[in-house]
């Protein structure tokens, strides 16, 4: 641990550090690749929508002696629809019948009880009308939209519009990746998944906000000095808050992982599992994007500002003159990112706030 502490100190002082900003195009590339994969998976494979979105019934039985095949047969005979049967860790069965009318479900339940030799009162039933999932999804979309607008306004006030935009892009990035993973792996999408997905909104931004806060502070009086360009300061901020970001992410992920483990292992399936699975994927994506995507995006936006361009000129001029005098240039920032920084000069004049 003390090694980690050392690393924290070195990161803080800038003795070591990863050049997140300088290598941003690499990570942009990685993210674009992942995002495209996600979108393609979504388009090709689509999402495996749970019964809640299609309408139908889910019955959960207590421990029975019947086999899965037998139960499937019984369920299909009773309902006249296709049935998906899973055996749970408890020895019970989870029977999903899609397209089953909520009115007819009561009869099916009765028949199932007879077939499986359990009392009707022992069978859990979840009957969903065909429009239920759609409503949940619609409300989720509304929520998503409202939240995004509010959060952009808030971040624009608390920080600045560039950070708000970057945070929003990072957020969309996280959501896309999470949905993509669902499409790719074929996890079932349930209202629980939607809950998890919506929670990512808050969480992904939580991380981003922590990093931005460091950035804002680091770049407070940036124009009053001539040592560093904005990119360099941003990179330092990321590295300086890296330990914090890692720790907050790990600590956030641990309970979710516990939920996932228990939800998946103990109950087999259900709400716990669904919420935690999407949260887990989303949180991981959120941690990644706040460091590799959000802050570099802010840099890209910020470096278009005339003030920042002027600053860069001054910094580079100073360095050049220092180099001419034979003094060693600054040791703090890995000079490896220097070419990268210079290359930004090509950008066209940006708006000034």
């Amino acid at each position: 641990m003390s090694k980690l502490g050392d690393l924290g100190a070195k990161l803080y002082r800038g003795e070591v550090g990863y050049d997140f900003v300088g290598k941003r195009f690499l990570w942009y590339g990685v993210s674009i690749l992942i995002t495209i994969t996600a979108i393609v998976a979504l388009a090709v494979q689509g999402l495996n929508m749970g019964i809640e979105f299609k309408g139908g019934a889910v019955f959960t039985t207590p421990k029975t002696t019947s086999s899965v095949a037998k139960v499937t047969e019984d369920a299909e005979k009773a309902s006249g629809h296709d049935a998906i049967v899973q055996e749970l860790g408890t020895g019970g069965m989870r029977i999903q019948i899609s397209g089953l009318d909520t009115d007819a479900a009561a009869d099916v339940k009765k028949e199932l009880a007879t077939d499986l030799k359990v009392t009707e009162a022992d069978i859990n039933a979840d009957l969903v009308g065909p429009s239920w999932g759609e409503q949940i999804a619609n409300k989720a979309w509304t929520g998503l939209g409202v939240f995004m607008v509010l959060v952009v306004i808030y971040l624009a006030i608390a920080f600045e519009w560039r950070m708000a935009v970057a945070a929003l892009i990072a957020l969309i990035h996280d959501l896309t990746i999470t949905v993509g993973v669902y499409a790719l792996v074929g996890f079932e999408v349930t209202p629980g998944t939607v809950i998890g997905l919506l929670t990512i909104l808050g969480y992904s931004l939580y991380d981003t906000v922590v990093v931005f806060d460091g950035l804002k502070e680091g770049s407070k009086d940036i124009t009053k000095q001539t040592r560093y360009t904005f990119s360099e300061i941003a990179n330092r901020s990321i590295n300086g808050t890296l330990v914090r970001s890692i720790n907050t992410t790990v600590v956030a992920l641990l309970p979710v992982a516990a939920l996932l483990f228990i939800g998946g292992g103990f109950l087999g399936a259900g709400m716990l599992n669904d919420i935690s699975l999407s949260l887990f994927v989303g949180l991981a994506a959120g941690a990644y994007s706040s460091i590799f995507i959000a802050t570099p995006l802010v840099v890209d936006l910020k470096e278009r500002e005339p003030a920042m361009k002027a600053l860069k000129k001054r910094v580079l001029a100073k360095r050049a003159s220092a180099a001419a005098k034979g003094e060693s240039a600054d040791d703090a920032i890995g000079s490896g990112d220097e070419p990268q920084v210079v290359s930004q000069g090509r950008q066209q004049p940006g708006r000034r706030r």
Partner: protein
């Protein structure tokens, strides 16, 4: 180095850690005491944890009546559904609106789902019951004693007192003609002119009349006598009695009912249901073209027509008030027309004393039940107590494991500091628990599985705030500060980060809560609550405790196990005098600049 000029500026924020701690301590004690006083020591459990049935209904907006889905109508519907469900002897069923157009009905275990759904369902609980006796709403004390075996007397009295325009049985002949007209217009006209059940939709304003319980108990068996006694004692002006009257009585048994006649409450002793509401094919309020009066026309299905013909035939031969039948909707008598002839053919009309509003209302009630809106079932979830318990256990285990993992991680990484975090988490947990328990009674908050999930996820959010603060303190120590100034200097910055990120988190929870329905709301609620509590705990507990502990030797000397050892943190020497250091390495300056 960093800011030689600023140096170790004494911060006023160091303030009074004792006071903040006292506040939160008092809050905790108050909440705990409140919890015990109100006997709500555990949060109320939702259906998915306690077992039971949960039904989500969505109001259908009908074309042309888009505005019907409004708060008033939704609340009316909730009231009616509540009465229906609780009317069947299931107590504590909970009916509430959610969002703009949803109603959630939660029925605790002990009632089967099918029965529950029938109760809640979209069909009205409407019955036509013959009237055995009628009296004024309040119990007439002296007569109450004698009423068990009243004789059919004074049936003329109420009629005579029916001073205003209604006069029920005065209209039969005129409406007999109008009836044929109304029917031929309305539905398929019967061959024979059907006589009217001319109604006394009695707007008896001056209801001093008819306190005489004018019933004739036909067969004084014990049950009937008992019912008579109850009838005498019934006080329909009392809301509690009104709510309970006729509760749990099967349609095939005689019952008592209350109803409003104009401003006054009346009470009825009613026979077994003769016709059910579902046998009414259609009904509506319309103007009788003959008389120009508002009337209500009804059309029965075959079964209803037969039953109605039979009962009206029987009733017509009787005397007031037993020639009346009561239309009982969800336990309330909404109308009690009298009958003068058997009505065959499946069409009937109620006339007398209606205005446009009352005729249309009655028509709507007859056709749709009392619900001002029609609903569709969106989801029905039945959870057995066994599964509920299992889910609760799973949630608790997951929470325990999650908490344990976080604690272990914090301990390994932050050592002594971790204890502050752990105690803070504990404080947060106590606050969350007590508030949840109290809210169970206060606003009917029920802990469901997603809410448990939210609480577990919140462990992370809460712990994150401590991490933000701790890392800030460590940063300050790395700058070469001693612990006490480091704690104070780190606070304003950490505070900002915590507030901003908690605000974002809370915003997400609030938006989720407002726009979503059902289970999602439980999750959002817990998340929002814990986020708020996180801010409270960090401000009133963690920070003050940190300030106090910074004064202890263990922490201030940077003991290796304190988690604040300057050497381990890689602080720059000289540790104690940060003023010196003219040639500080640049990076820090950039950071601080």
């Amino acid at each position: 180095m960093a800011a030689p000029k600023k140096g170790r500026r004494p911060t006023g924020a160091q303030g009074r850690p004792g006071r903040a701690l006292a506040i939160i301590l008092i809050a905790m004690v108050a909440l705990t005491v409140g919890m015990f006083i109100s006997k709500q020591t555990t949060p109320r459990l939702g259906i998915d944890l306690a077992g039971g049935t949960s039904i989500t209904l969505k109001a259908k907006s009908e074309p042309g009546k888009e505005n019907a889905v409004n708060e008033t109508n939704m609340n009316t519907a909730v009231g009616i559904i509540e009465r229906r469900v609780n009317g069947l002897g299931v107590s504590e069923a909970e009916v509430q609106t959610q969002g703009r157009d949803h109603i959630i009905v939660n029925i605790p275990k002990g009632m089967n789902e099918k029965q529950a759904r029938e109760q809640v369902g979209t069909t009205a609980q409407l019955y036509f019951r013959p009237v055995i006796a009628f009296a004024d709403g309040a119990p007439a004390a002296p007569e109450g004693a004698q009423s068990p075996s009243p004789t059919a007397s004074g049936s003329g009295a109420p009629k005579a007192q029916d001073g205003n325009k209604t006069s029920p049985s005065a209209t039969p002949s005129s409406s007999a003609t109008s009836q044929g007209r109304a029917l031929s217009e309305g539905l398929k006209a019967p061959n024979a002119p059907t006589p009217t059940p001319s109604a006394s939709e009695s707007k008896k304003a001056d209801d001093k009349a008819a306190p005489s319980p004018s019933a004739s108990a036909p067969a004084p068996d014990p049950a009937a006598a008992d019912l008579q006694a109850k009838f005498a004692a019934l006080d329909c002006t009392n809301e509690a009695q009104r709510a309970n009257v006729g509760k749990g009585v099967k349609p095939t048994d005689p019952t008592l009912a209350c109803g409003q006649r104009g401003e006054q409450w009346g009470k009825w002793l009613l026979g077994p249901a003769a016709v059910e509401g579902k046998d009414v094919k259609s009904a509506k309020g319309e103007i009788d073209p003959q008389s120009g009066q508002w009337i209500v026309t009804m059309n029965f299905n075959d079964h209803g027509a037969d039953a109605f013909a039979k009962v009206t035939g029987e009733l017509a031969a009787k005397q007031m008030p037993q020639n009346q039948f009561a239309i009982v909707l969800d336990g309330d008598v909404i109308s009690d027309p009298s009958v003068s002839t058997a009505i065959t053919g499946g069409n009937a009309q109620i006339s007398g004393g209606f205005n446009q509003q009352s005729a249309q209302d009655l028509g709507n009630m007859l056709s749709y039940g009392a619900l001002p809106l029609s609903f569709q079932e969106d989801s029905v979830t039945t959870v057995t107590a066994a599964l509920g318990g299992e889910q609760l256990r799973a949630g608790l285990i997951a929470g325990a494991i999650g908490l344990l993992l976080v604690v272990v991680y914090l301990l390994v990484y932050y050592r002594g500091l971790a204890f502050i975090a752990i105690v803070s988490l504990l404080v947060s947990a106590i606050l969350t628990y007590t508030i949840m328990a109290l809210l169970g009674k206060g606003i009917g908050f029920a802990l469901n599985l997603p809410a448990v999930c939210g609480a577990i996820v919140a462990i992370g959010i809460t712990a994150d705030s401590f991490i933000v603060y701790f890392e800030r303190i460590r940063d300050e120590i790395r700058e070469g500060r001693t612990l006490r100034p480091a704690v104070e200097r780190a606070w304003p910055r950490a505070r900002r980060t915590i507030l901003v990120s908690d605000f974002v988190s809370f915003l997400a929870a609030a938006v989720l809560f407002i726009v979503t329905v059902g289970k999602v709301q439980g999750f959002a609620f817990t998340l929002g609550l814990t986020t708020l509590l996180d801010v409270v705990v960090v401000f009133l507990f963690t920070k003050p405790v940190m300030t106090l502990l910074a004064r202890t030797k263990f922490f201030s000397s940077g003991h290796p196990w304190s988690g604040l050892d300057p050497k381990r943190l890689g602080a720059k020497p000289p540790l104690r005098s940060s003023r010196r250091t003219a040639g500080a390495p640049a990076p820090v300056e950039a950071k601080e600049a």
